[in-house]
């Protein structure tokens, strides 16, 4: 009795109290309060809409670029405007469309795909979404006032440094994009934990939908790939605001440091964009080829292998910067090796098509095939530019513009359109039009090739990128004209798509009903549009394509035969399962809609917005708003009902509250700290890098008594010991110990931070003096920042303790805070080594 139509669902609702409870528990708030909603279906939908909005904005900018370049000597757009426009086109496409769009799709479908009711931290996704929206708008407003960044999407210094860009442009970029990275991290933690711990029972790693594998790798790549950029951002903003000379060659800095940090992020970024796209293809192709994905384990290998290798490629964007040839060759090697998994993937897709009874050429499949074609073409020129001598030749010409658009369009844009055609019925309950789909696909695919194939030739004929116009008669004119015509064909195709997506199919589209594509994965198990809670009951899964292998599974889910089939207490909840095998372990009580995430996001946006204009006191006020919203938000963490068991149906009960390293809360803290550690390692990398390029100015040895440094180290360790004792006392049920431990640890930590700074003052090191002293102070500042955050955590823990929310049975928040404190101690120790020991040794 799967619900085959919306009417079935309404009828069942009348007869079936469990279903009714679920529907009322998960119903979104009405009216204006709807904005409080944090459920992944709602947030995911807004996220997708916003991603497409930014795509359209960046597309309009591309249309302006192509209008300007259509004919030689054109004066439609001035040089200054042109610089802002192409910078914002690139920036918006990369940071506001490509990455967030993939997060958006994942936030919407991953829980449904995995039979979870929601992601592990719904408020975090809500916060991330609002941060993304506000941050994106903030970056775009700069364009309205003609103060947009104009240094290219990779913002090379010294062009973007204080000397050559005194205006606000780069600050908009650094702070706006920096802010959006917060959203990316939020999404990555959410997805990693969601995929590893919130799968349905029986879905072991080898049965995960392939899209989940890709998104898992995607999450880890964001976690490790974004930190270098975040660090580079911070250093550049600090250089601009406070004149700390990290990149200033006159004072021992080095502009190449920015390039390293940027591309340490930037190359993984290309794969961060491309892997989810490949995940969409690996999902869509089997459905329309009507055969399971060929070589599942090979495709997993490709996803994981690409994830790793992509971190060994960054220098290939810097071949022409005079780095030792031998080093270049390592990166060239990795660039060639990464072609192997990509190739395997393409073969798996072809084999899938081969093994099926014939392909159904529906719109999602057309987009998928178009994506493969374009991506393979881009990959071929990619192998060309990965060769050092070729790159010397075509570097910074339109050849490169053609290459990366092929990769990005094939790797991201076409798959996004495939995904939207494929999954939209989950939102609207209707199929998008096949006819309009063919038109939009035809226009986009043809238009794209018409626009970008000629650019290979303009590039080989020597046309440099980033020029606002060009003289006639260099053999570039008609090629550019063709490119512009192609670009407008793409625009027309996108317009057709939007018309269908936003309006036509909602009114006139065919009703999708039950499993319209005859797909095999769980998100299609029941009638569309899907419910906010994804599943009437959380099924037990026994294969990768449960709907194909067990045709009656959908019925049984809808009858409520499996886990959590009702919600008598009207609390939102979901199952947590083991990471590898997927056995049920815990019932998670999820938060209900609240204002705190959106308020925290507005606070954060205000903070970053004010920082652009250096209004520090107002920034402090905004920070206060964030802290208060954060504390309100966290206050109801760790629900512990009595008794601590919940009846999940099928005669089983599971605990609601668990302590320990296996919980999703602990994992979130640990992943956040991995991110943090990666940024810190990037800082160490920066110190080492400056040292290798600057052998005549070796890092100054702080001429201070080692006493300061030793005291700082000792006190930091002491603070950790106190905290450990406090946590230990809590475990033994001693309230006094729990309060005293942190209270004693706190002054020790402050003293340690003080001694660390004292050691720098004592040695007379000032941050503006040279690049090394600036790095030293950054080490100190990094530690200091953690001490500050840790202090807030401590007072929060103490407040919880006084409110009786910390007991031996309920000690997860204490464990998390403790982890953070030990991490801070680690930072202090490593910073001391880098400041005091390292310069003496070398």
């Amino acid at each position: 009795m799967t619900f085959r139509s919306a009417r079935d669902l309404e009828e069942a609702d009348r007869r079936d109290p469990g279903l009714r409870q679920l529907r009322s528990t998960w119903a979104p708030p009405k009216g204006f309060a709807r904005l409080k909603e944090i459920n992944n279906t709602f947030i995911g939908m807004l996220y997708v809409l916003t991603g497409i909005f930014f795509f359209v904005v960046a597309g309009i900018l591309a249309a302006l670029i192509r209008a300007q370049l259509a004919v030689p000597e054109n004066d439609l757009i001035s040089a200054d405007w042109y610089n802002q426009i192409f910078t914002m086109h690139g920036t918006t496409m990369m940071f506001l469309f490509a990455v967030p769009m993939m997060e958006a799709i994942a936030i919407f479908v991953i829980p449904q795909l995995l039979g979870a009711r929601d992601l592990p931290f719904p408020r975090v996704s809500a916060y991330g979404y609002w941060a993304y929206l506000l941050g994106g708008l903030m970056v775009l407003t700069s364009l309205l006032f003609k103060v947009a960044p104009d240094g290219g999407w990779f913002m090379y210094v010294p062009l973007t440094g204080p000397e050559y860009s005194p205006g606000y442009g780069p600050d908009f970029w650094l702070l706006g994009i920096g802010f959006i990275e917060v959203a990316a991290i939020a999404a990555s933690i959410e997805l990693i934990i969601g995929i590893l711990k919130f799968r349905p029972p029986g879905m072991s790693m080898d049965r995960m939908p392939i899209f989940a594998w890709y998104m898992l790798v995607f999450g880890f790549m964001i976690l490790l790939g974004f930190p270098p950029l975040v660090l580079g951002d911070i250093l550049l903003e600090v250089e601009r605001a406070f004149d700390w000379p990290f990149y200033d060659a006159d004072r021992g800095g080095d502009p190449l440091l920015w390039q390293h940090l940027f591309w340490l992020f930037g190359h993984p970024e290309v794969y961060i964009i491309f892997l989810p796209g490949a995940g969409v293809l690996s999902t869509v192709i089997p459905v329309f080829a009507r055969a399971p994905l060929a070589g599942y384990v090979w495709v997993v290998l490709a996803a994981v292998g690409t994830g790793f290798l992509s971190f060994g490629l960054w220098v290939h964007h810097m071949y022409t910067t005079g780095i030792p040839v031998m080093s270049l060759s390592f990166f060239s090697a990795a660039s060639l090796a990464v072609a192997i998994p990509s190739g395997i993937q393409v073969f798996a897709w072809i084999a899938t098509i081969w093994s099926g009874p014939g392909v159904l050429f529906r719109a999602p499949m057309l987009y998928a095939l178009g994506a493969i074609f374009i991506f393979v073409a881009g990959g071929l020129t990619g192998v060309m530019v990965a060769l050092v001598p070729v790159d010397f030749q075509v570097h910074d010409t339109y050849f490169v513009v053609a290459h990366f658009h092929y990769v990005l369009f094939g790797g991201a844009v076409m798959p996004v359109f495939a995904a939207l055609h494929y999954w939209t019925p989950l939102v609207t309950g209707r199929l998008m039009s096949e006819t309009l789909g063919r038109w939009s696909f035809g226009l986009i695919f043809l238009g794209f090739n018409v626009a970008f194939f000629p650019m290979h030739l303009t590039g080989l004929r020597g046309m440099p990128r980033r020029v606002y116009t060009y003289p006639a008669d260099l053999g570039w004119d008609w090629l550019n004209m063709i490119s512009s015509i192609g670009a407008y064909m793409v625009a027309a195709g996108v317009a057709v798509f939007l018309w269908d997506w936003l309006y036509w199919h909602r009114k006139h589209g065919q009703v999708a009903g039950y499993n319209p594509w005859n797909a095999g994965t769980l998100e299609w198990h029941s009638v569309t549009p899907s419910t906010n809670f994804s599943m009437r009951s959380v099924p037990i899964v026994s294969s990768t394509y449960p709907l194909w292998d067990e045709p009656e599974l959908g019925d049984r889910v809808d009858r409520g035969e499996f886990y959590l089939p009702d919600s008598p207490d009207e609390r939102r909840k979901t199952l947590r399962t083991g990471s590898v095998m997927g056995e049920p372990r815990q019932v998670i009580f999820l938060p209900h809609p609240a204002w705190s995430p959106i308020i925290a996001a507005i606070g954060t946006a205000t903070f970053f917005g004010l920082a652009i204009f250096k209004l520090w006191w107002l920034c402090a006020a905004a920070a206060l708003v964030i802290i208060i919203a954060g504390i309100i938000w966290m206050w109801d963490a760790e629900p512990l009902p009595a008794p601590n068991r919940y009846d999940v149906g099928r005669g089983e009960t599971l605990p609601v509250h668990i302590n320990g390293a296996d919980t999703h809360g602990f994992w979130a803290m640990a992943l956040l700290l991995i991110f943090d550690a990666a940024a810190f390692v990037s800082l160490i990398f920066s110190a080492l890098f400056l040292w290798t390029v600057n052998r005549d100015l070796s890092p100054p040895v702080p001429e201070a008594e080692p006493g300061w440094a030793l005291a700082a180290a000792g006190l930091a360790v002491l603070a950790s010991v106190f905290f450990r004792l406090g946590a230990f006392a809590n475990r033994r049920g001693s309230m006094i110990g729990l309060v005293l431990g942190p209270l004693a640890g706190l002054p020790a930590m402050f003293a340690s931070g003080g001694a660390l700074m004292g050691s720098l003052f004592d040695a007379g090191i000032s941050p503006t003096e040279n690049a090394f002293s600036a790095v030293y102070w950054t080490f100190a500042g990094w530690t200091g920042f953690h001490i500050g955050v840790g202090t807030i955590f401590i007072f929060y823990t103490l407040a919880r303790a006084l409110a009786g929310k910390v007991t031996p049975e309920r000690r997860q928040s204490v464990m998390n805070v403790e982890l953070f404190w030990h991490f801070t101690t680690g930072l202090a120790l490593v910073s001391l080594i880098m400041i005091h020991l390292w310069p003496r040794v070398i």
Partner: protein, 124 residues
Amino acid sequence: MNVIDRDSLVGMVAGPLVWGAHFLTCYIAIAVACAFEFETGGPGEWGTVKTILLAVTGIALALIAVLILLAWHRWMQAGGFEKPRDSTQARHQFMAVGGLLLCFLSVVAVIYAAVPLFFLPACQ
């Protein structure tokens, strides 16, 4: 321990982790050697750096070889190509083959990175 457990995800990606360590070592060694101008008669000897890196490559390959043997062994224990009888066996096969393939990819990547050591001058 849980890491070499047959169900461990870290165990599955051990091969690429070795590749990462090898890659970083090579990159850092060359960067430092060139900064100290080893090639043009600085305090060190270019030949030594090269020997060290070749040794590191050897160690990396040996480590991956061990991982391959382990994964192979696990795969055979899980029945090799045999059709799995139950979900546990299916999972063990998957984890073993996944690890094995990732190891092969890592071998290729490590060798690719080491090849230029034979042919190219270091710092130019």
